[in-house]
């Protein structure tokens, strides 16, 4: 059974970035979010995604280095959120 945070994140990614040809369930948990040929996300997409995630989850990502780490994959982002929720 999939983790509710990863499921929510995948939906957010698809809707926020308007990924027309990709369904949330098509995004593997471990696939790199930035630089993946399948997703085709760039740094501007990353910025948009970070802003939405911060708002939705009430978490602040403090630096570009943390942002890069958090956006390593859906799994990494979910882990980051779990570790930081309640800290902001």
């Amino acid at each position: 059974m999939s983790d509710p945070t990863t499921t929510r994140l995948k939906s957010l990614i698809v809707t926020t970035l308007k990924l027309a040809d990709i369904k949330p369930e098509d995004i593997p948990d471990d696939e790199p979010l930035i630089g993946s040929p399948r997703l085709g996300l760039d740094s501007i997409d990353a910025l948009e995604l970070v802003l939405v995630v911060e708002k939705e989850f009430g978490v602040k990502i403090g630096s570009s280095e943390e942002s890069r780490q958090a956006l390593g994959s859906v799994k990494a982002l979910a882990a980051y959120l779990k570790a930081h929720q309640g800290n902001s």
Binding site: I44, K60, G62, S64
Partner: protein, 369 residues
């Protein structure tokens, strides 16, 4: 591939700047003492937000008339007399953000009087009238290499004998709009910048800055001997990972330097990825040349940084002491990073570099007898 540098020498008749510390001499003096102009302030000014490193000449919130107008008007009294804005003595104004703070203020307060100063040409026209310049005012803007482009353009005008003297005037004042933009990119955060330091988390600071240079034709005792410019055309917010964007510009200016003994005033904002690429490529092209950045103290003065740092460089040459990389600590990305002040006398030229969003790179070679 590197385009060859422009080698149209222009003499610097006068040059000065304005930072949080004051003019170029005061700024150089403060840097030599290791003082840091940045302090942690709310990113959105009166609207609060996270605290980030800013070096401002006044409150960040825009005013009526715009907060930069009076500051620049007083600063302009230092410009040598001339028929500025006349056909043979044009003015080149460079900025990254011009009056963007006024557009933000309008959006926030809905006071229509802000709109008159918000767009680039409207802000320059306001400045032109305030300072009594003629109509020959040219405007250049290319993010944080804006001042370099203005100086390079002036050198080309002089070389082509289209003009006799050029006043290049650069300014950028931080607004909540600009600070929040860098903050949302996560490169302006709660940490103080430490340019070229090899650490876990990077951060930049932002600073208000203004500067001018009066250039004349030919090779005087203090001259800009060459300009190099290069655009990677790689990505808006990131550099080629192999560093060749930095390398292309550095190679061109190194060729123009022709083996002179130089020190390098780098861009060095405090970001990690670009800082590493820059330090490595400059060390490769200028082996053994000390590399400094002053943005760990002054903050990144955006489009004016090339002019501000040129004026500080000239002030350092007058005193014979070059400020080190204030705010940085070892370990650094490369061994050439100078953390402490050093004597200018051992060198006969300076390379000054700036980089910008969109993969733009610029460098100039400053020679002195």
């Amino acid at each position: 591939m590197s385009a060859a540098a422009d080698t149209f020498p222009s003499t610097i008749e006068a040059c000065d700047c304005l930072t949080r510390f004051g003019d170029a001499d005061r700024t150089a003096e403060a840097l030599l003492l290791g003082r840091i102009a940045l302090s942690l302030l709310p990113v959105l000014g009166r609207d609060g937000g996270d605290s980030v490193p800013l070096a401002l000449m006044g409150p960040i919130d825009e005013t009526l008339p715009p907060r930069w107008l009076g500051v620049l008007s007083r600063f302009a009294s230092r410009i040598p007399a001339g028929k500025w804005g006349a056909p043979r003595e044009p003015v080149v104004v460079t900025s990254s953000n011009f009056g963007i703070g006024s557009l933000y203020a309008f959006t926030r307060d809905r006071d229509a009087r802000h709109i008159a100063h918000g767009t680039p040409f409207a802000s320059v026209e306001l400045l032109r009238r305030e300072l009594g310049w003629g109509t020959q005012v040219q405007v250049f803007s290319h993010a944080c290499v804006s001042a370099h482009l203005g100086l390079a353009h002036a050198a080309r005008l002089l070389h082509a004998d289209l003009v006799d003297r050029v006043l290049v005037f650069s300014h950028d004042f931080v607004s909540p709009f600009v600070a929040a933009g860098f903050h949302s990119l996560k490169i302006l955060n709660g940490g103080m910048p430490a340019p070229f330091s090899d650490r876990e988390i990077g951060s930049i600071g932002l600073g208000d800055g203004a500067g001018f240079a009066v250039l004349t034709r030919g090779a005087g005792p203090i001259r800009i001997a060459a300009h190099a410019m290069h655009n990677e055309m790689f990505h808006f917010t990131s550099n080629r990972p192999d560093g060749d964007g930095f390398g292309a510009c550095a190679r061109a200016i190194a060729a123009a330097a022709g083996g002179r003994s130089v020190w390098v005033k780098g861009h060095g904002t405090g970001t990690l990825e670009a800082g590493r690429l820059e330090a490595v490529e400059l060390a490769r092209q200028f082996p053994g040349a000390p590399l400094v950045s002053w943005k760990g103290s002054l903050g990144h003065t955006l489009g004016s940084c090339g002019m501000v740092e040129l004026a500080v460089t000239l002030a350092a040459l007058r005193t014979g002491r070059v400020p080190g990389t204030v705010g940085a600590t070892a370990p650094c990305f490369t061994d050439n990073v100078a953390l402490e002040p050093f004597a200018a006398g051992a060198f006969d030229a300076v390379v000054l570099t700036s980089n910008a969003f969109g993969g733009a790179h610029a460098a100039m070679l400053l020679c002195h007898d």
